[in-house]
């Protein structure tokens, strides 16, 4: 390992988490084995990737589709499933209006179809399960956070984990049946009775920062750029140190 230059600056980017980068170099064939609807606009695609090298919760992959004439469309997708040795991984895709890749998944894809993936990618937005995690996501931004939550459960970890997840309505909330006491949903358009409707606000974040575990939270924020800007500002305003906020923007 070479020692690398550390800049003498005011803010600090949180460091990388040790992961192997070898697998990222190869494209592998992935076969769709199951499709599950999560909400009117999102579905989960289970893929068999026999030589999958394993991943850390929070990592993503690159996926590509190839047309008859050789034209290729490639996009990034977060991995929704927890790391296990099943030789399968799961992705959850929003159906983006007019979307080239998500459109294929939502209107054409069937079990038995194959696509290509390379990964896992990035040792930055990853949670090894070793530190208290404060997870904040919106829409399909909850996907990599779900991998963390599932990992936490599957391993019976006792390190604290909290999830704040924003969705338009209860129907649009991805993985609605899987959340437990660790999760607070925030609904922006319509909500069940007794639950206020509105944007994620300081009042949602403050109680979580008030109950800081020893050593403090590592915060993971994921969603659209607009949401990421909003949520990361709420965290900073509530006192979360900037260098302990990791952000994954879907663009």
């Amino acid at each position: 390992m070479t020692e690398t230059f550390t800049p003498p600056t005011r803010f600090a980017v949180p460091g990388r988490i040790d992961v192997s980068n070898r697998a990222a170099a190869v494209w592998q064939t992935a076969t769709i084995t199951e499709i599950r609807r999560e909400s009117p606009h999102a579905a989960t695609f289970r893929l068999a990737v026999p030589a999958w090298a394993g991943h850390l919760p929070g990592q993503h992959l690159m996926l590509r589709l190839t047309a008859e004439d050789g034209y290729v469309a490639q996009r990034h997708y977060s991995i929704a499933s927890a790391p296990d040795d099943a030789g399968h991984i799961e992705l959850t895709l929003d159906h983006v209006e007019g979307g080239e890749v998500s459109g294929w998944f939502h209107t054409v894809a069937e079990p038995g179809d194959t696509v290509e993936v390379r990964g896992p990618l990035s040792g930055f937005f990853a949670w090894p399960g070793d530190r208290p995690a404060l997870l904040i996501g919106a829409g399909s931004g909850v996907v990599p956070l779900m991998s963390m939550l599932r990992h936490h459960r599957a391993r019976g970890l006792d390190v604290p984990l909290r999830l704040l997840v924003s969705a338009r309505s209860p129907e649009e909330l991805i993985y609605a049946r899987e959340y437990g006491a660790e999760t607070t949903p925030v609904f922006t358009r319509s909500a069940p009775e007794d639950v206020p409707v509105g944007r994620m606000a300081a009042a949602h974040v403050a109680p979580l920062l008030a109950e800081q575990p020893p050593g403090g939270w590592e915060a993971y924020v994921c969603g659209s750029n607009g949401f990421a800007e909003h949520a990361s500002r709420l965290l900073v305003a509530a006192g979360q140190p900037v260098h302990r906020i990791r952000i994954e923007r879907f663009g």
Binding site: T9, V13, H76, D113, N225, R246
Partner: protein, 201 residues
């Protein structure tokens, strides 16, 4: 070739200006930074070049603006697959700064670093010869904070993660040292025309 059943893709016109695997994002300009967007005012911004140079020095916002203006008009390419055509950035050519500090003959690489602590490594040859800028304007307007304002590095012939936002300085070196994404598995150089996305490409 591994053809995907039933995938035709969007109607397309062949575009020689589009590097392999990229698509035209049109008017979109996605933001992909991994850290909190800093609240950095022009008065707080500074830019420094040091390391293997004759005369290390720093420039304030005003001092940098006294240097001859230079613009880039052309395309930019992000490793996440979008490209953006016909963009216009204003600032100062990096050659102008480097002429002042004078890199040693032994200098081969640089680490660009941001006010956030973000880093990116580049061969010095990619930063000279009119191919790199310190940019503070986009389309004639001040560069927005989420896009790296008040000022960012601009190296448009490489994938855009090399164009460090909120640029704070360059450390000039006689060897290559991986930066933030490069330590996270991304390619050391990042040439979009050779599709150098990840290490091993």
């Amino acid at each position: 070739m591994n053809v995907t059943r039933g995938f035709a893709g969007r109607p397309r016109v062949p575009n020689a200006a589009l590097p392999p695997g990229q698509y035209d994002a049109g008017d979109d300009w996605p933001v992909l930074s991994a850290e909190v967007t800093p609240e950095l005012t022009p008065a707080e911004w500074s830019f420094r070049i040091d390391g293997l140079v004759e005369e290390p020095r720093s420039w304030s916002w005003e001092q940098a603006h006294e240097l001859p203006a230079s613009a880039y008009e052309g395309d930019i390419h992000c490793v996440t697959s979008w490209s953006k055509f016909g963009v216009r950035f204003g600032g100062v050519s990096l050659d102008t700064f480097l002429d002042v500090v004078r890199p040693h003959v032994s200098a081969t690489h640089a680490v660009a670093y941001s006010h956030t602590g973000y880093t990116a490594n580049l061969p010095l040859a990619d930063l000279t010869g009119g191919r790199a800028w310190i940019a503070w304007e986009f389309d004639g307007e001040p560069l927005a904070p989420e896009h790296g304002g008040p000022a960012r590095l601009l190296v448009p012939h490489l994938y855009f993660w090399k164009s460090a936002k909120w640029i704070a300085g360059l450390r000039i070196l006689d060897h290559d040292e991986p930066g933030f994404w490069e330590q996270n598995g991304y390619h050391a150089r990042g040439n979009p025309w050779e599709e150098q996305r990840y290490s091993g490409d």
